[in-house]
């Protein structure tokens, strides 16, 4: 009985399947050749930066650990110096030492004062470090409710420019933010900061001038 059933079974023809597989391999070969030829020529067009001085007012932004935070260096400097009073000729060195010992924490940043005297003049800086998980990430900056997008709507496109401090771990974020800022009509500058090194802004006019690119 079993033997008879085996003899009756008719094996389906594999010819159509072989045909199909052969065609697919042929198409894949074509795709492979096309990809090989085109892959070497991938080009990403990019605006080429060139540093230029500007009279616009810098809006400071700090990109680190994949987050972006804006800060007002003058306001932070005023807050740091508030308990110290105004520096005067007689006590400027003491004032600088006390200012260098000052620090505060904002919602997004750790802020510390740095000051010294040089040829009788006062060199006053604000140093900021990012707080963990504070600020907008790459996804958030596309959101109109994000702090970054609000900043773009609040500031002046002609009187202000955006200046980014960029840590090596946040290059992609910087590029995304810069593209948004450029789309919104802002001019942009940037400077690199080494990992775990604070962004320093001089409040006394010394140091390197922030430029647009």
């Amino acid at each position: 009985m079993t033997r008879r059933r085996t003899q009756l079974f008719e094996q389906p023809s594999l010819v159509p399947m072989a045909d199909m597989v052969t065609n697919t391999v042929g198409i894949m070969l074509f795709i492979l050749i096309f990809v090989s030829l085109s892959a070497g020529g991938v080009i990403i067009s990019r605006h080429l930066p060139r540093e230029r001085a500007t009279h616009a007012h810098p809006v400071w932004l700090y990109c680190a650990h994949g987050r972006i935070v804006s800060f007002d260096a003058n306001e932070l400097g005023r807050e740091l110096a508030l308990p110290l009073g105004e520096p005067s000729g007689a006590n400027v060195e003491q004032w600088a030492r006390r200012y260098s010992g000052r620090s505060l924490t904002t919602d997004d940043l750790f802020v510390s004062g740095e000051a010294d005297t040089e040829n009788g003049g006062l060199r006053q800086l604000v140093a900021v470090r990012a707080r963990p998980d504070r600020g907008d990430d790459e996804a958030a900056i596309r959101n109109s409710a994000s702090s970054f997008q609000r900043l773009l709507t609040q500031r002046s496109r002609t009187d202000d420019f955006l200046f980014f401090f960029v840590s090596p771990d946040s290059v992609r974020l910087f590029r995304a933010a810069r593209d948004r800022a450029a789309e919104a009509g802002y001019q942009v500058g940037w400077t690199p900061v080494a990992p775990d090194v604070p962004a320093r802004v001089s409040l006394s006019g010394s140091g390197r001038e922030a430029t647009i690119q």
């Binding site: 594999l14 010819v15 399947m17 072989a18 597989v21 052969t22 697919t24 391999v25 894949m28 070969l29 795709i31 492979l32 990809v35 090989s36 892959a39 070497g40 991938v42 080009i43 990403i44 067009s45 990019r46 605006h47 080429l48 930066p49 060139r50 540093e51 960029v166 840590s167 090596p168 771990d169 290059v171 992609r172 910087f174 590029r175 940037w190 400077t191 690199p192 900061v193 080494a194 990992p195 090194v197 390197r208 690119q213």
Partner: protein, 183 residues
Amino acid sequence: MANNQPAEQDHFDLLPFIAIMMCLLGTLLLVTMSMAAINVGAGAGEGWVPEQDPGAKIPVLIEWDGHSAIWHSDAGIRTIEVDLARYARTNVGWLRVDPDGGQEEVRNQKGGDLKLLLDYLETRKQTHYALLAIRPEGFFNLRRFTARFQERKIEIGSEPVEAGKPIHLILPANPGETGAKTQ
């Protein structure tokens, strides 16, 4: 006579053929996807295209990784080991002053190739500028590097670039004397 042959011998078995074709198909798929991922995805190179502005200066592409500058010159790509130390002439040779303040007496100055690059740009600073592609490893000492250009009033522009990503400059067909290689 053919009719006397058993039914199984009427056609050859296609299963081994199909198995080989399927293996080939899988391999081709893997190769295609890998190539696409490497060349279009994370490993994609970047071609930078200058602005079409008649007043724009011609960029000279220099990659900076913190230790060496890769100059994309007319003669090809040149790697220049950069010594960011300062040198002062002494009676017996040179006093080498490291960026961190350390001092050492040496017979000869290093970094002659960087001088070549700076000389090249300085003689063309009305028409050319240094376009710096900054690798993450070059972030910590970029300012010391750019100071060399600024001392000679050579204009610069800088752009951060991911580590290992190939960069090349795509200049117009007839840019004159470019100093940058089109690849």
